[in-house]
C-alpha cells in the first residue's frame, strides 16, 4: 500500500429512512458520537427528505431511500461500528435491503508511460482494429482506456450481490498521468426470500472487504510498476 496517496471509504445502505431525525445532536444522544463532536459538527441541511452533515472525519448523507457514510480517514472499520450503533441499536427496525462497502484509492505510478502501459494491459487497442491504432497513435496526447469495470457476480460469501472494481486514470494525483484511481464496490443484497441483518453483516464484512479491496489495489499497483 506504500504507493497509495489518497483513499476513502463509503458505506451505503438502501432502504427506507427518515432523514429528518438524523443530525449530530441525535447521534450524540444515541452515543454514536460524543457531545463535543456534535457541538463541532457542520450541518448542511436536515429535512424530511434529505440530511447532510459532517462530524469529525465522517460525512453523513441521508435521503429517504439511501443512507451514506463517507470518510477519508482511518480507521475505516469505525464506519461499521457507527452503522451498527445507528441501525443495530438505536433504529433496529429500519427496513434495509441492500448495502455497499465501497473503497476508493489513488495510487502513484512512476510515469505517464507506465500509466499508459497499465491501460493498454487492461484494455488493449489491438481488438479495436484501425481505429484502435488511431487511438494509440497521437502526437500530443495519449488516447485509450478512460474507465474499466470488472465484476465478480457470485462472490459466494453473501445471499446476493457482487463485487465491481473500476479503474481509471487518476485526475487527482499531480502531475497528470502519474496516478491510477481504483474504486471497489462491494455490494450486498437481501435476495428475494432471505432477510439479512445488514448492521451485523456490515460489522462482520468490513474487515474482509477492506482487506480484499486493498489486495486488489496492491495487485494493480504492483503490476503497474512492473511494466
Amino acid at each position: 500500500m506504500e504507493h497509495v496517496e489518497l483513499q476513502g471509504l463509503s458505506i451505503v445502505l438502501v432502504g427506507a429512512f427518515n432523514p429528518a431525525i438524523f443530525n449530530p445532536n441525535w447521534l450524540a444522544a444515541q452515543s454514536v458520537i460524543k457531545a463535543d463532536e456534535a457541538a463541532d459538527a457542520t450541518v448542511e441541511v436536515v429535512h424530511r427528505e434529505i440530511a447532510q452533515f459532517t462530524v469529525g472525519d465522517l460525512i453523513f448523507e441521508i435521503t429517504q431511500d439511501k443512507f451514506s457514510l463517507h470518510t477519508a480517514a482511518e480507521p475505516f472499520v469505525k464506519g461499521a461500528d457507527v452503522v451498527m450503533e445507528i441501525f443495530g441499536v438505536a433504529l433496529p427496525h429500519t427496513p434495509i435491503n441492500a448495502m455497499g462497502i465501497n473503497y476508493m484509492a489513488h495510487f502513484r505510478v512512476q510515469s505517464r508511460k507506465q500509466q499508459t502501459a497499465l491501460g493498454r494491459a487492461l484494455a488493449p487497442v489491438e481488438p479495436w482494429g484501425e481505429w484502435g491504432a488511431k487511438v494509440a497513435q497521437t502526437e500530443t496526447s495519449t488516447g485509450g482506456m478512460t474507465s474499466l469495470t470488472m465484476m465478480q457476480v457470485e462472490p459466494g460469501d453473501r445471499v446476493a450481490g457482487n463485487i465491481a472494481v473500476t479503474v481509471q486514470p487518476s485526475h487527482r494525483l499531480q502531475p497528470p498521468g502519474t496516478g491510477v484511481y481504483v474504486q471497489i464496490n462491494d455490494h450486498y443484497e437481501a435476495g428475494p426470500d432471505a432477510s439479512v441483518n445488514f448492521p451485523e453483516l456490515c460489522v462482520a464484512k468490513i474487515t474482509p472487504s477492506l482487506e480484499r479491496s486493498r489486495q486488489i489495489v496492491d495487485s494493480l499497483s504492483t503490476y503497474a510498476r512492473s511494466l
Partner: protein
C-alpha cells in the same frame, strides 16, 4: 520432515509433534491400532497427526481406535474436526465438563461473538460436534477413572482418563465466572482445570500423558491424580510432561511414586509471551531424568520483512512482534517388549538440554 517408515507389528511407538504452539501425540500399540491425543496444524495447514499417519501409510479410516481431545485450548484442538472426519471408526473422547449444565449456561450468558479472523472461540468445538453427530462415532465424556478404550480380547490394554475431578470442575466454574465481559471474543479459561490426563496400561508398560493438567487445591489437579486415582498401578515408563514443563504443573510425588527412575519423557514447548519451558524447568526435569526430549523449540520463526517506515513506527512505540510459528518437530520413540527405547528426532525436535539453545 515426516518419516515414512511405519512401526513393525511388535513395536510400541509414541510420537510427539509440535511447532512451538500446538501439540499432537500419536501412540501405536503393539499388534493393535493407533491412538491420537490432541491436534494441531502443521506448516501445510493440515492436522499434524494426520500428516504423520498418512506419511507412514496408516489406514486412518480403519486403524485409528480412539482420539482424545484433552481440553479446548486452541493449541490442542486446531484441525480436530478434520482429523476426526478422517478417522470414522475412532472413539472420540472429550472432557466431561462440556456436558455439564453450568457450561451451557455459561455459553448462553457469555455468548460467542464472531471476532473477525479469530473466530468465535467455539468454532472447532462446533465443527467437531457436527462431525460426530454426522458420523455417529462412539464418544466418551471423560472424568477421572473413565475408560476411553479397552482391549477387546481379554482387556490386554486399557486407555483411561485420570482427570478431571469434581474439584477440578468447581475450580473451572469459578474461573469462567470471572472471565471477560460479554461482547468480546470468547477466551479460554486461564487455567487448565478441564484437562484430561490419561494413561495407557499395557502388560509391560504404563504410559502417562499429562496433557496440560496443573496443580490445584486438594482434590484437584495432580494431587487428585496422585492421591485418589493412580492408586497401585505401578510406575510409568513414559511421561508426556504436563503443560510444557511449567512449574505450575510439576508435582514431585508424580515423579517419585508414579514414574520409574530415569523415565523416558517428552514435552512440547509454548512459544508465546512467557515462553515455556524456562531454564529452571529444563534444569528441574533433567535433574530427574536425562532421557528428556522436546518436540520443538519455543524460539519463534523470523518475522516477515516490512516497510522501513513500519519497522520504525514499531520501534518508536516499543511494540514487540514475534511470529506465532516456530519450526515444527517430531520426537519418535519406539521399543519392543522388554527392550530399550529408541529415540529419533526430526525437524526442530531436540534433547531437552538443547531446547533453549539459539
Amino acid at each position: 520432515m515426516m518419516p515414512t517408515d511405519p512401526p513393525s507389528g511388535d513395536v510400541l511407538e509414541i510420537c510427539i509433534l509440535s511447532r512451538g504452539y500446538g501439540e499432537s501425540i500419536i501412540i501405536k500399540l503393539p499388534e493393535r491400532g493407533w491412538f491420537i491425543i490432541d491436534s494441531h496444524l502443521d506448516d501445510s495447514g493440515s492436522p499434524a497427526a494426520l500428516s504423520y499417519l498418512n506419511s507412514v501409510g496408516c489406514n486412518t479410516e480403519e486403524d485409528v481406535q480412539a482420539i482424545l481431545l484433552t481440553h479446548w485450548h486452541d493449541d490442542h484442538v486446531a484441525g480436530a474436526a478434520k482429523l476426526i472426519a478422517a478417522c470414522p471408526n475412532a472413539v472420540i473422547a472429550l472432557s466431561g465438563f462440556l456436558q455439564r449444565d453450568e457450561f451451557a449456561q455459561f455459553l448462553e450468558s457469555r455468548g460467542a461473538p464472531e471476532a473477525g479472523s479469530f473466530g468465535t472461540g467455539i468454532d472447532e468445538l462446533e465443527a467437531v460436534l457436527e462431525v460426530i453427530a454426522k458420523t455417529k462415532q462412539p464418544r466418551k465424556w471423560c472424568w477421572a477413572e473413565k475408560n476411553i478404550a479397552v482391549g477387546r480380547d481379554g482387556g490386554t490394554f486399557r486407555f483411561e482418563a485420570l482427570s478431571p475431578s469434581e474439584r477440578d470442575f468447581e475450580e473451572f466454574i469459578t474461573a469462567i465466572a470471572q472471565m471477560a465481559v460479554k461482547g468480546t471474543r470468547l477466551s479460554p479459561p486461564p487455567r487448565n482445570d478441564s484437562s484430561v490426563a490419561s494413561v495407557f496400561e499395557l502388560p509391560s508398560e504404563l504410559l502417562l500423558f499429562g496433557a496440560d493438567l496443573e496443580n490445584g487445591p486438594k482434590g484437584s489437579g495432580w494431587i487428585a491424580v496422585h492421591n485418589a486415582v493412580w492408586q497401585a498401578r505401578g510406575k510409568a515408563t513414559f511421561f508426556k510432561v504436563a503443560h510444557h514443563g511449567s512449574k505450575g504443573a510439576d508435582y514431585e510425588p508424580v515423579w517419585v511414586e508414579m514414574l520409574i527412575e530415569s523415565v523416558m519423557c517428552a514435552l512440547t514447548p509454548w512459544n508465546r509471551g512467557r515462553k515455556l519451558p524456562k531454564q529452571r524447568d529444563v534444569d528441574r526435569i533433567l535433574g530427574r531424568t536425562k532421557m528428556a526430549y522436546a518436540a520443538a523449540k519455543p524460539k519463534a520463526a523470523k518475522k516477515p520483512k516490512r516497510l522501513n517506515a513500519v519497522e520504525r513506527s514499531l520501534r518508536e512505540a516499543n511494540i514487540k512482534l514475534t511470529s506465532e510459528d516456530s519450526a515444527q518437530g517430531l520426537v519418535r520413540m519406539r521399543k519392543v517388549a522388554g527392550g530399550d527405547w529408541k529415540v529419533e528426532l526430526f525437524g526442530a525436535a531436540c534433547h531437552l538440554s538443547d531446547v533453549l539453545a539459539a
